[in-house]
Amino acid sequence: MMFLMSAIEKDVVMRTLNILWQGLLSVFLVILVIVLLVVVLNLISARSAKYRQEHAGEPTVSDKVKEKWENHVRVREDKKAAKLLAKEEKKQEKLAQKQQDEQNKQD
């Protein structure tokens, strides 16, 4: 069949033959990469499931992070409250001092 073709058609056929092996190889390679990816994802989820099973009842990493965060928030709020309290005390002191001064003036 090839000898019946013109040079242009032969060129097209040769290029399609290139596409045949390039395309097939590319599809299988991409699929191979995806398969490997799925295998890795499945391994990770299997391991994490196993870890969770083995450490059932123990606090998880997210529990620990949550606890740390809550502690951090608590400390920060305590500091804030202490600051506010100190400010308020200073205010009260100032007010008392002012009243005292006024009282002294009147006397």
């Binding site: 097209v12 399609t16 596409i19 390039q22 590319s26 599809v27 991409v30 699929i31 499945n42």
Partner: protein, 380 residues
């Protein structure tokens, strides 16, 4: 009586090709209703074929500059960025459960093998005289995936002298998808023995974590996008649909995408595809060649999966039913249903559906990747 002459203007303008296209339209509607062959596509396409082949049809743009609904839908939904097929892909992604595939990833290779027909068809199309881009788009019919066929055909042929082939390729792709229940059983029976068809496969699904289900669509989009950037629209829409399904927080969107949106787009897509079925352009020798090559692609795709399963069986202890390989094409979920039906026919206790569904989903992903790779090879 001359004043009433307009009443017979349409009748007088009927040509032989109009009549032939009406018969084709009636045949499509008949197949859709009588044999329930992909009625969501064949019925709108059949009716559309009749609509556009009525002389001076008002559904097409007029010579006086008036707009016709089907031409407008075609411009908006197919020619401009392939919006209809891509939106449909979101719906398909939302319908797909990758679970059986993720729990048995080796089924992915059947999806890859199910694309073999595309590449052999490209060579054959070049041998029968089509140009390179024409041959590629004809080969893509073998993806058994309408949206991918439309996207690749539009990308490679739109605005060229070969643009007339887009309609034939689109119609051919959707018609053969509808004819999968006829084509596949014949190929399976011709290429497998009864003994092979009776092979039982155990189904022991491993649980797939939610994290894997969520990470999969994102990572596949990244991988295929980096390898074949042209495929991002196709893969991205499919995987976006799947991501909204698997994330577990968008129930109402999943419901809309997989039902309302899909149905809406399917109605428009079927009838819009028919806008290209104008008798005078459609009934040509090239359309017949495209039809024959499309059939070849479908047959070889099915054979590709079967051949891979037979090859694996030479080495594997646990044999694979070759019919599962045949399901590695994109026609989802028809191909897997056919395999299940054929399996039950040979042995009423042989349930292959879940294996076949896995291979079928792999075929869907592989076909989109193959389309993207072909666009990359063609330099888009």
């Amino acid at each position: 009586m001359d004043e009433l002459g307009f009443l017979i203007e349409g009748i007088a303008a009927i040509k032989w090709y109009h009549a032939v296209m009406w018969v084709i339209g009636f045949l499509m509607i008949f197949l859709a209703i009588k044999f329930k062959m992909e009625p969501t596509l064949l019925l709108p396409m059949g009716f559309g074929a009749i609509l556009v082949n009525i002389p001076f049809s008002g559904v097409l743009n007029g010579e006086d500059g008036s707009f016709g609904i089907l031409d407008v839908l075609k411009t908006v939904g197919l020619d401009t960025g392939e919006i209809f097929p891509l939106i449909l892909f979101i719906g398909i992604g939302a319908m797909m459960d990758f679970g059986p595939l993720l729990s048995n990833p080796k089924l992915f290779f059947f999806g890859a093998a199910g694309q073999i027909g595309i590449f052999f068809t490209i060579v054959l199309a070049a041998l029968v005289g089509f140009g390179l881009n024409e041959a590629i788009t004809i080969g893509v019919i073998g993806t058994a995936d309408g949206p991918t066929s439309i996207t690749v055909a539009n990308s490679l042929l739109s605005g060229t002298d070969s643009a007339y082939l887009i309609s034939a390729i689109t119609v051919c792709a959707y018609s053969y998808m509808a004819l999968v229940p006829v084509i596949q059983p014949a190929v399976i029976k011709l290429t497998t023995t009864k003994k092979e068809r009776m092979i039982k496969m155990e189904y022991n699904p491993k649980s797939v974590s939610k994290g894997t289900r969520i990470a999969f669509p994102i990572l596949v989009t990244l991988i295929s996008g980096l390898i074949a950037p042209a495929s991002v629209a196709l893969v991205g829409c499919l995987m976006f649909g799947n991501l909204i399904r698997e994330c577990g927080v968008l129930g109402s969107l999943v419901d809309t995408a997989s039902n309302t949106l899909s149905n809406l787009v399917t109605i428009f897509l079927g009838i819009t595809v028919a806008a290209g079925m104008l008798g005078e352009q459609f009934l040509t020798l090239n359309t017949l060649k495209v039809m024959a090559l499309g059939l070849f692609a479908f047959v070889f795709d099915t054979f590709g999966g079967i051949a891979l399963a037979k090859f694996i069986n030479i080495f594997a202890k646990k044999k694979i039913n070759p019919m599962v390989g045949a399901a590695g094409i994109s026609a989802f979920p028809m191909a897997s249903r056919i395999v299940q039906k054929l399996g039950l026919k040979e042995d009423p206790s042989n349930h292959l559906l879940m294996h076949a569904a896995g291979a079928n989903v792999a075929g869907q992903i592989s076909s989109v990747i193959a389309g993207g790779i072909l666009m990359a090879i063609a330099g888009i």
